[in-house]
């Protein structure tokens, strides 16, 4: 029988208001005990891991990840995505259906779930395509996909455009209490644009997307959710006005949720500098004012989760003129570290930050993860909140290297990750 005892760790589990020094015992693959009285007793035969004061929290739940497999294995495979996730302290990922083929039939949902299990390092929760082949025309078999284990329904970075289609989707999905995830961007306003509308876009001469493209879609869809009683989530919100609409909807008691990604609360439009395609995102990086509004919304609970919005790209996808470059950046390895910058600058408390990365996304997806509960799977993340490290594109775990945070010096580093009690990642610094 394998026993694993984490000693000398700072336990943080926002789902149970745990935030203090303690010890945690893992038996086989499950959490067997939590000791905050710092009892000296050590169970017979336990392997001891001395955390030296590091933070031990639930394995992170990343609710927005794209992986290349199936279809774009040259960008990332499930195996390489699992390496990146483990290095980021992530043990559960919800993956976008926009691969090739799109995840629009039950067999593909089961396949992805199984492939996740085979890695031994991550749980893959597949999103089901909301429309067939993510083409935005006909709804998929939401009921059958839901039964097969699709965690929610979305077309990835393709917005559900016609209001009637969104109306039907919310209405039909409500019969299964299924969650719809919208990419909040009006396609007619976003068409051909690649940066946010601003004087910078004007100076660079790049076609732009107004912040209103996001707010118009959010306003519309809140009305449709209200009309249908459907559950709606807005993925990677990027504007202050957008989160304000969501704040108001929540105040009215509507079942509306949202997430954002590190690049939206840590970077702004200026990161594109001299046409840096690695800072090209969909939605685009916004103004500093929007970034600050997102920080406020993270702190006041308007934003329910932080997701990496990890999108693997090949160098050839990015080494082209800015307008032609693919959008998106890798984000799993840096997810926790960038989030911790908001703790270091006082925007969030440590438990708030961890909650946004663990039990809050887990509970909005309705899954058993993201908490340190006795009897639950021992998915754990051990990190040093003040450890310095520098992001080097080209040296990141996983295949895709298209990070927007290249050469950034960060404070806070994952030093070990356990999936169901098995160590799947540890740094050299960690003994």
């Amino acid at each position: 029988m394998s026993l694993l005892l984490f000693e000398n760790v700072h336990l943080v589990d926002p789902s149970s208001d745990l935030n203090q020094r303690g010890r945690l015992l893992v038996c086989k693959n499950r959490i067997a005990g939590i000791d905050t009285r710092l009892d000296e007793a050590v169970p017979d035969g336990a392997t001891i891991i001395n955390g030296n004061g590091a933070v031990l929290c639930p394995g992170l739940v990343d609710m927005r990840v794209e992986i290349g497999e199936p279809g774009y294995e040259y960008r990332e495979t499930i195996a390489s995505a699992a390496r990146a996730a483990s290095a980021g302290g992530i043990t559960t990922i919800a993956v976008m259906p926009t691969c090739r083929p799109a995840i629009d039939n039950p067999a593909l949902v089961r396949m992805l779930r199984t492939r996740g299990e085979e890695t031994g390092a991550i749980t893959i929760l597949p999103y089901g395509a909301l429309t067939k082949n993510c083409e935005g025309k006909e709804l998929t078999e939401i009921g059958l996909l839901h039964q097969a284990g699709a965690i929610a329904f979305t077309d990835g970075i393709h917005a559900i455009d016609p209001a009637q289609l969104m109306y039907l989707a919310l209405s039909y999905a409500s019969g299964f209490n299924a969650l719809i995830v919208q990419h909040p961007e009006d396609p007619s306003l976003a068409k051909a644009g690649c940066v946010t509308s601003s004087v910078l876009a004007t100076r660079l001469g790049l076609p732009s997307i107004p912040a209103a493209a996001e707010t118009i879609m959010i306003a519309r869809d809140i009305r449709l959710a209200e009309l249908t009683g459907g559950r709606l989530h807005f993925g990677h919100v990027s504007t202050g006005e957008g989160v304000e609409l969501i704040r108001q909807a929540k105040a009215r008691g509507l079942p509306i949720t949202c997430d954002t990604a590190p690049h939206y609360f840590d970077l702004n439009e200026n990161s594109i500098g001299d046409f840096r395609t690695y800072a090209k995102f969909s939605p685009p990086l916004r103004s500093e004012q929007d970034r600050l509004a997102l920080c406020t919304a993270l702190a006041d609970g308007t934003i329910d989760a932080i997701a990496s919005d990890h999108i693997p790209r090949d160098a050839d996808d990015k080494r082209v003129p800015f307008t032609q470059a693919a959008t998106g950046g890798t984000g799993m390895v840096t997810l926790l570290s960038i989030t911790l910058t908001r703790v270091h600058d006082g925007t969030l408390t440590l438990p708030q930050a961890i909650a946004l990365l663990t039990h809050k996304p887990a509970s909005l997806l309705g899954i058993q993860a993201g908490s340190l509960t006795i009897g639950s799977h021992a998915d754990l993340c051990l990190f040093l909140p003040k450890q310095n490290w520098i992001v080097h594109s080209g040296c990141l775990p996983g295949r895709a290297q298209n990070t927007p945070f290249d050469r950034r010096s960060l404070e806070g580093q994952v030093i070990g990750t356990w999936k169901a009690g098995r160590c799947v990642y540890k740094t050299d610094a960690f003994v």
Binding site: E141, I142, S174
Partner: protein
């Protein structure tokens, strides 16, 4: 503010909304009389002798039109079938011109089916004949609900206190609407079962319970009434696929067993076997689908008789 249907209940049969339970009971009693009558030995041909009945069908129909035709003939009326899906309309004649033409022919009974809701009501204002709604758009199909009521009463003795589940494309069903009016008026508990795209929330305000999970909806009911799912619902995206529909809203033996023992299985026809109903369920001992058709003639005889009673032949 309540919606008051505008209709002269004694002269026309435009719908069942607002029709009293006494009136429905008397129609069902009369229909039962005709159902029990053996027309091979007993003649009822004097009832409508000298009356003219026109079946004015703007939409395709086999069973309803035939049923009205047989009912009219058994009562001795002169029955004329007019199918006008294309003919006059294509020639540019408006609906009201058609009505005026028919009026000039001194028709006594005008049986109307149309794809648009409200057409029988409009015609009733313009003609002297008694208008019988044989199905208008998504609005009502009163004789279908009456025959359903008669069938249930035939097997279970009463309508009061029963729980009846109506399952399928409620939003687009005139049969569902007429049955909701009839059953709630007669004291049955009505459950509607469908995916939300086929069952808007507004139905809640019609004195019924709404279910989006069929297993819950059919639990312990006395009657399961299935509705036809048109292929068009899939092409317009209201239902993603036939297999998904059958999985979640099809009536199979497992679901039938959740209902009361010997619950009745009904369907207004035509059926889509394997989409809304498993073939063997449609053919099972609990299925009363053929009985519904049989009751249809009796119900229509009763309606024709009732509307012409005490009226002189012009």
């Amino acid at each position: 503010m309540t919606h008051e249907p505008c209709r002269n209940a004694t002269r026309h049969l435009l719908g069942l909304e607002g029709i009293s339970s006494d009136k429905i009971t008397s129609l069902l009693d009369l229909a039962e009389y005709y159902a029990q009558m053996d027309c091979r030995t007993t003649s009822s041909r004097d009832v409508l002798r000298g009356r003219t009945l026109i079946n004015l069908f703007f939409e395709d129909s086999t069973r309803t039109r035939t049923s009205f035709e047989i009912a009219g003939k058994r009562l001795g009326a002169d029955v004329i079938n007019m199918s006008v899906p294309q003919s006059s309309i294509n020639k540019g004649e408006t609906l009201l011109d058609t009505a005026a033409t028919l009026n000039a022919m001194h028709t006594d009974l005008l049986v109307v089916r149309h794809s648009q809701s409200g057409v029988p009501t409009l015609l009733a204002k313009k003609v002297d004949a008694s208008v019988i709604n044989a199905g208008d758009g998504l609005h009502e199909h009163p004789t279908q609900a009456l025959l359903d009521g008669l069938t249930i009463r035939h097997y279970l003795g009463t309508l009061a206190g029963l729980t009846v589940a109506i399952c399928g494309d409620i939003a687009h069903s005139r049969v569902a609407r007429s049955n909701i009016y009839l059953l709630t008026t007669m004291g049955s508990h009505v459950r509607l079962i469908a995916p939300p795209t086929l069952l808007p929330n507004t139905f809640r305000q019609m004195g019924v319970d709404i279910y989006h999970h069929m297993d819950e909806g059919v639990k312990d009911v006395d009657v399961i009434m299935m509705l036809r799912l048109q292929r068009e619902r899939m092409s317009t995206g209201l239902v993603p696929s036939a297999r998904e529909y059958f999985r979640f809203f099809g009536l199979d033996h497992r679901r039938l067993n959740l209902a009361r023992k010997n619950a009745l299985v009904m369907h207004p026809g035509p059926m889509n076997r394997g989409i809304e109903i498993e073939s063997s369920v449609a053919d099972s001992d609990q299925s009363v689908i053929q009985k519904q058709v049989e009751m249809g003639v009796a119900v229509r005889m009763a309606v024709l008789d009732d509307l012409t009673r005490g009226k002189d032949i012009p």
